[in-house]
């Protein structure tokens, strides 16, 4: 008799502990969920279509042969290749995420952080970068205005 009540008590206790555990987990989840959602940044807002370069940016492009422009929260390298065509690549080096630059004299894209080199199509020539740079569509109109479309070409 006594042992059976003890056993019942025991199962009741372990059931209580189980519920307690579930409750604590649920509580933790209900507290953490809003906090995690709160901390997750919102996607950066901005125009999703093609982005036209400002006059200043075009001026820099003409002078330096390249310019880094923000497009939808991404850094994009816009440069003039030796054939005077305007082209665009992702400016974020695939190695450690430094911003790359165009070296007009050598016609390469170069990352100063760890000496990564890419060709004008974004393919890795030398150095540690594991992947090529993504290509983007860039177009120059008759008036000299430059438009970058944030889609891989």
């Amino acid at each position: 008799m006594e042992s059976s009540t003890d056993a019942a008590k025991h199962t009741r206790r372990s059931f209580l502990d189980l519920v307690l555990g579930i409750g604590a987990t649920g509580w933790l989840a209900s507290v953490l969920y809003p906090v995690i959602r709160y901390l997750t940044p919102l996607p950066s807002a901005g125009p999703s279509g093609p982005v036209k370069l400002s006059a200043d940016q075009v001026k820099t492009l003409d002078k330096e042969r390249f310019v880094i422009v923000p497009v939808q929260g991404k850094r994009i390298l816009v440069f003039q290749d030796p054939a005077q065509n305007v082209r665009a690549l992702d400016a974020r080096c695939t190695h450690e995420g430094c911003t790359v630059q165009f070296v007009p004299g050598e016609s390469v894209i170069w990352c100063a952080c760890h000496n990564g080199r890419f060709d004008l199509d974004g393919r890795v020539l030398s150095g540690p970068p594991p992947r090529p740079l993504s290509q983007y569509l860039a177009r120059q109109d008759a008036e000299g205005g430059v438009t970058v479309t944030p889609q891989t070409a």
Partner: protein, 460 residues
């Protein structure tokens, strides 16, 4: 499971190095006195601490989006409240928790006062607690400005203005607080630094001392506590604390979701409204937060000039004196020092409660639909608030007489007489106050009770 036996695992590893076992042992034997009076008073400190922890967590979360600055403060808070997922919740909890923290703190302080828990050897607990009360008010005041909206701007302008009444260094203090002659974005930078760095540091120190001395000495037993039973602090009391915190958290969540901008009571709402514009004229109905309302009202009761000084200066002097007396109560209450009931100080506690209640209610403009603009309406407010306060006092007094067998009511009677003469008969608040104070003093001296601290009073 003996605590003295060496244990393996992480606990053993830690215990070996830091000697945790004696601490556990200490906690195991620590007891919370129960039986002589309702235990509820022992939970208030823990509750305040819980709300403070919530403040730290939500405060840090808000910091991740808040950008102090002329063009960003208001906008970032707006962004948090409207765009960030659950940003509204974090902000609402931060605001609600702030108010609930100060509420539980105030109740905690008065329960400590009325139960004479400040008596030796716990003077330092009272003093640090008093300091924490001041810090909490500082938190509220500095945090109020951070959204940089119209309401907070004017409330801060009024609030900081009273600082100039401090003798000699008043103007300098005002400049330091505001970062210039007027409330500007410089003020916000200073308040921001105070709210998120300076005050939390001081607060952490004070809370550490406060908790340390409580843990060292245990909770104050009732004044005739020899007979009280004890409850183990750990795990019994601690688990109860935890249970209460869960209830508090649930309450917080409900309030934050259902009333995200506060209950809409005077001094207790945080709707963002429009951005602060230093060039816009002030509008009627601007009030500080509810825990400052009594000072705000007291300032209004003082005339422009009194006793050859400016009214606000005198008012600030009076408030400082009251605060000073309040801080050193453990040393004033000689009777409680000897471990005996001090009905005089119990009654003082009630008198202070009536005093604060009336002023707070009056500042909230209870009894009229809109902010009063003439003397007649102000009189209506005074009468209405006097009735409420007197009603509360009647209930409190009946309880004291019937349940607690209190017999000493000189100070609370004086406070009520003050309220009644002002509110019901329309006499000047200050004049009545002075007359009542003098009469009370005469009565006390004449009956020889001032010195003896009402030792002759009937002990319950």
């Amino acid at each position: 499971m003996s605590a003295t036996a060496p244990r393996s695992g992480l606990f053993g590893w830690l215990d070996e190095r830091y000697g945790i076992s004696p601490l556990i042992e200490f906690l195991r034997h620590k007891e919370v006195p129960i039986g002589a009076h309702p235990m509820v008073w022992y939970y208030l400190g823990g509750m305040t601490l819980f709300f403070f922890v919530v403040q730290i967590i939500t405060g840090v979360l808000l910091l991740m989006y808040y950008q102090p600055g002329e063009a960003t403060s208001y906008e970032s808070i707006r962004y948090i409240a409207t765009k960030v997922p659950f940003g509204w919740l974090i902000r609402a909890i931060h605001c609600w928790s702030a108010h609930l923290m100060i509420m539980s703190l105030v109740v905690h302080m008065f329960s400590t006062m009325l139960l004479k828990a400040y008596r030796p050897p716990r003077e330092l607990t009272w003093l640090t607690g008093f300091g924490l009360f001041g810090i909490a008010l500082g938190f509220g005041f500095s945090g109020y400005l951070l959204p940089w909206n119209e309401l907070s701007y004017f409330a801060t302008a009024v609030g900081t203005d009273s600082v100039k009444s401090v003798p000699v260094i008043g103007h300098w203090l005002l400049l330091v607080m505001r970062g210039g002659e007027d409330v500007s974005i410089n003020t916000l930078y200073r308040f921001f630094a105070g709210h998120v760095v300076i005050l939390p540091l001081i607060c952490a120190g004070l809370i550490s001392v406060h908790l340390l001395v409580i843990q060292r000495q245990g909770m104050a037993p009732p004044i005739h506590g020899e007979t009280a039973r004890g409850m183990p602090f750990f795990p019994n009391f601690a688990l109860r604390d935890l249970l209460l915190w869960l209830v508090c958290l649930t309450t917080l969540a409900m309030l934050a979701v259902l009333l995200p901008y506060g209950p809409g009571l005077p001094g207790m709402e945080w709707e963002l409204g429009s951005k602060a514009n230093p060039l816009a004229p002030a509008y009627p109905g601007i009030k500080p937060e509810w825990y400052f309302l009594w000072i705000y009202q007291l300032l209004k009761e003082f005339p422009a000039h009194l006793l050859g000084m400016e009214g606000p200066e005198v008012c600030l002097l009076v408030v400082s004196l009251l605060m000073g007396v309040w801080a050193v109560i453990p040393w004033l209450d000689r009777t409680a020092q000897r471990g005996r009931h001090s009905p005089g100080f119990t009654d003082l506690g009630f008198a202070v409660i009536y005093f604060l209640t009336f002023l707070t209610l009056k500042a909230a403009d209870l009894g009229v639909a809109e902010t009063p603009t003439n003397d007649a309406e102000t009189a209506v407010v005074a009468t209405f608030c006097a009735y409420i306060t007197l009603g509360v006092a009647v209930v409190a007094t009946l309880t004291r007489v019937l349940v607690y067998h209190h017999r000493w009511f000189v100070l609370s009677a004086a406070a009520l007489a003050h309220i009644a003469l002002h509110g019901l008969l329309g006499w000047s608040y200050l004049t009545v106050g002075a007359v009542v104070a003098v009469v009370t003093a005469v009565v006390l001296v004449a009956s020889g009770q001032l010195r003896t601290g009402a030792e002759a009073g009937v002990e319950s």
